[in-house]
């Protein structure tokens, strides 16, 4: 077993997406010893994920090139937390990282909603297939349908097409009037309007249908067709891949484990922060999507604010606050215009699997009023993803909210758990009650 070496950082940043990169860079400007860790093999996060075939956008290249004073800790997954200390698992074993202040930039995941056939190989998230494709997933020549909701669908479709996919169509659940209203409001954010027009140009010839959603996916061992419902009725489309996502959900699990207060806008929690992005726990800041879905520009500004603040440079942080307010207004616009159609909540039938890890159907969850009771009786949410997929889906469906975080944050190796216990990373109630 590898002994964990405790290393100390003045500022430790968790998550190397746009927010985390900006935070690390800002904190390092003030001479702080900065560590930037991420579970993925390369920095960039989801939006700036490395593409094996295509060059990164300029902003991403610049952000990634400005890390010479930052210790980048790739393939580091946070498993547990104690006071001013994180236990991380790496391919080489467990490590303990101590910090003066912490910036959480854990980003967001896709909201994936259950419908008949959603467990078939060939059905992925929309950003999910985009991420897979950037890392070499064989998509050239495949017939792909992109569906769900939000501007991410266009970005995903553009990446898929650039990699040679035959994108049959993009199906947006929001109504045409909602999408047009959103497009009209974009005039106040010219950079974004230009981006949207650019995406549409790259998707020339690909149908974009509003008020339309996928009802079911069919196939024997893999996906072969989907059923789509829109204003003009229901139709079946033969396809090889369905890339479907209903927007984003903040990754608050680690913040929750650290005791940071959460708040709700709708059914999915985000981290509560003050104007300088301080969480309710002293010394812990949060930036980007986990403070509420706000997009790339908000994440970058917030990362800088949090990085300056974590290094004690509150003056530098304060100068960026007006920019933050502006980007957060854009976020409000997004959630308003891409609100989910209630019909999406009724797609899963009693036989549809909700918990994919433990194969628990919707019918098996009838009668349970909270996540804990459901888990104890059905194992729903007890599998490897620890309820990240089914828990968010059940909250969206109006069944019950997700339960709080417990260590380990991800399934960890036994050697890591042994270190967690030896170094007091596990709560007292984990001890002495084993049978």
């Amino acid at each position: 077993m590898t002994e964990p070496m405790a290393e100390h950082y003045d500022v430790l940043v968790v998550g190397a997406g746009p927010a985390g990169l900006a935070a690390a860079q800002a904190a390092a400007m003030h001479g702080a010893r900065v560590g930037l860790l991420d579970a993925q093999a390369r920095a960039g996060g989801q939006v700036w994920r490395h593409d094996v075939r295509r060059a990164a956008p300029r902003a991403a290249r610049q952000a990634l090139a400005s890390l010479e004073k930052v210790q980048v800790l790739a393939r580091h997954s946070v498993v547990a937390a104690a006071s001013h200390s994180l236990l991380v698992e790496t391919p080489d074993g467990a490590r303990q990282l101590r910090y003066g202040s912490l910036v959480l930039a854990t980003g967001a995941r896709e909201l994936l909603l259950p419908f008949p056939g959603w467990t078939l190989p060939g059905v992925t998230g929309a950003g999910g297939l985009q991420a897979l494709t950037k890392q070499g997933w064989p998509i050239a020549g495949k017939r792909v349908v992109v569906a769900g909701s939000g501007p991410l669908l266009l970005a995903a479709a553009a990446t898929l097409r650039a990699h040679g996919a035959h994108v049959l169509g993009i199906y947006e659940q929001a109504t045409a009037s909602a999408v047009h209203a959103f497009a009209w409001r974009l005039r106040h954010w010219p950079a974004r309007a230009v981006q949207a027009v650019g995406l549409r140009a790259r998707l020339a010839g690909v149908p974009y249908r509003c008020g339309t959603f996928v009802r079911a996916a069919d196939g024997e061992q893999t996906l072969s067709s989907i059923e789509v419902e829109g204003p003009r009725g229901v139709r079946r489309i033969a396809c090889d891949q369905l890339a479907i996502g209903y927007g984003l959900v903040p990754n608050v699990e680690m913040a929750g484990l650290l005791g940071c207060e959460l708040e709700h806008a709708g059914v999915h929690p985000h981290v509560r922060v003050d104007s300088l992005l301080r969480t309710s726990v002293p010394g812990i800041h949060a930036a980007g999507e986990l403070c509420g879905i706000g997009g790339l520009a908000a994440a970058r500004i917030e990362g800088s604010i949090a990085g300056h603040a974590a290094a004690g440079a509150y003056g530098n942080a304060a100068t960026l606050l007006p920019q933050r307010s502006r980007e957060r207004r854009f976020a409000a616009l997004l959630s308003q215009h891409f609100a989910l159609d209630p019909r999406l909540h009724a797609l899963a039938t009693p036989q549809t699997l909700i918990c994919r890890c433990e194969d628990v159907t919707l019918a098996a969850l009838d009668g349970f009023g909270n996540a804990r009771d459901a888990r104890l009786a059905t194992r729903c949410g007890m599998g490897a993803c620890q309820g990240r997929i089914c828990g968010s889906a059940l909250a969206e469906l109006g069944r019950f909210p997700r339960s709080g975080s417990r260590p380990p944050l991800f399934p960890a190796r036994l050697a890591t758990l042994a270190v967690a216990e030896a170094e007091s990373f596990l709560p007292d109630d984990y001890r002495g009650n084993r049978t």
Partner: protein, 81 residues
């Protein structure tokens, strides 16, 4: 473009570009990565390391998330872990 990486998936040789994920290599030769508790075939869903549907065995280590693992020369991958 640099030399491709060669690995095996269920004993079958696969070549993929440098920087590819194990998930991408598996998708070239296998329709699924694991079987669920009921025996259903499953393949990557989230693509970001959250859902664990892509897990496989890599060089004898079980339950590795293939979407988060870069390929390296000579790697031996098994599905239905």
């Amino acid at each position: 473009m640099s030399t491709p990486i060669r690995i095996t998936v269920n004993g079958q040789p696969v070549e993929v570009p440098v920087g590819s994920s194990v998930a991408a290599a598996v998708a070239r030769v296998a329709a699924h990565s694991r079987r669920s508790v009921r025996g259903e075939p499953r393949a990557p869903l989230c693509g970001m390391g959250v859902c664990f549907e892509c897990r496989v065995q890599v060089d004898g280590v079980a339950h590795v998330r293939s979407c988060m693992t870069p390929v390296s020369e000579g790697m031996q991958v098994r599905t239905d872990d």
